[in-house]
Symmetry: C2
Subunit: 211 residues, 2 copies
DNA sequence: TGTACATCAGTGAACGCGCGTTCACTGATGTAC
DNA sequence: TGTACATCAGTGAACGCGCGTTCACTGATGTAC
């Protein structure tokens, strides 16, 4: 198969070459401009430079396009988190901090994906591929917490799953309230990264997990 | 002025009597069914049993209707939180626990308001009334944290504002991921209330704030 | 290497539909006297 | 207490518009021989 690395520009002729990806890209742009509700099939086609009927060759409907945006989002999210955690190097505390920053950074840099993943009304149980990708991303956080739990005294070692849910929730709350890269961000008088780092440190302290 | 307590049913004649409220109610129903993006002006009119032109007597456009839903939401939210906190009675720890439960309960019982308040794409800075109501709700949490900070040893008393932001973020993360009353809720193997309570206890422990 | 053919991935025209919005209107209500 | 009138809060018809969706079609690509 010929590989056109065209992105949304430069179609050569009748065939687009990479329309599926181009539609996802277009959807991202539209979501970031008008929110998940503002994504229409026709608009995506227009942005990709094809006729309104063309998307039907690749997606059943708008929902499936949205699910694909979310899928791509969770995949990227998982990759970003995994890279930040870096298997707990150089040490688990530094790595956890990087992980938290990566979470907030993702919300800031990819507000459209973030919205598609968490605020698009997508029902995860109806899109198992997306749910699987979401689980993979969460697994990064979970294994981080397993490593961290080792740092607690044996007799009061906290359950890693609970730790992961707490840290995820705190990160997600800060991300969606204060760090997101779109107009819904609320202002606070400090970088959200600092807020998260401080919160996680206090929390770990409370668990008896120390650097 | 005559007071028709009709809700959306039972209009007597030509005039509705309480259309403004009825439209907000209708909007809530529509949002809970189809998400914030699914709210249309025409639909709200239909649900309220009036012609498509009628809403223009009360709201400039769909956005203003949405803002009113969010306003009503923040007002109710503030009232619910305030009642739960109950000025720190019977004691601040019990009251904080009730406050957290009220937060999660609101997300569960009023998913439409919750979505309008936090996920509708509403820009708070463009709706100062809504922003003011949101601030009032946050103030409940803030004064709770001020009271709690008193329980910490003097020399390491935590800044109440930071505490409030942490607890808000944790609550909000848990609410929007695990407690919301709509299809976007993710399943976890425990009540979200327990997750929040445990998290807050660990956090307070980490701060040196004890019951 | 060339040709015929199947398949793929687009087009563009068409349609029904619902939304947003405006308008002159009208029924109901409140009030001045 | 009654009447005239102003105002308010609806109606319903109309319009333009964009979206979703289908359809027969066609240009481009891949492949069998």
């Amino acid at each position: 198969m010929t590989w056109h690395k065209d992105g949304q520009r430069g179609r050569k002729g009748y065939h687009h070459g990479n329309l599926r990806e181009a539609l996802v890209e277009a959807a991202l742009k539209l979501i970031s401009e008008k929110g998940p509700g503002g994504l229409t099939f026709a608009d995506a086609a227009r942005a990709a430079g094809v006729s309104a009927a063309a998307p039907y060759r690749h997606f059943r409907d708008r929902d499936e396009l949205m699910a694909n945006v979310a899928l791509k989002g969770f995949e990227r999210f998982g990759a970003v988190l995994s890279k930040a955690w870096a298997d707990g190097t150089p040490d688990v505390f530094t790595a956890l901090n990087a992980l938290g920053r990566a979470y907030l950074g993702f919300a800031r840099d990819e507000p459209a994906m973030f919205a598609a993943m968490f605020e698009s009304g997508l029902v995860l149980s109806e899109h198992s591929e997306v749910a699987a990708a979401a689980d993979l991303a969460f697994d990064v956080l979970l294994s981080a917490c397993e490593a961290l739990a080792q740092a607690a005294p044996l007799e009061k070692r906290p359950p890693a799953r609970m730790m992961a849910l707490h840290i995820w929730s705190l990160s997600h709350g800060i991300a969606s309230l204060f760090s997101r890269g779109d107009a819904a961000r609320r202002a606070i008088p400090m970088p959200p990264e600092d807020l998260l780092e401080a919160g996680v440190l206090v929390y770990l302290d409370g668990l008896g997990v120390r650097g």
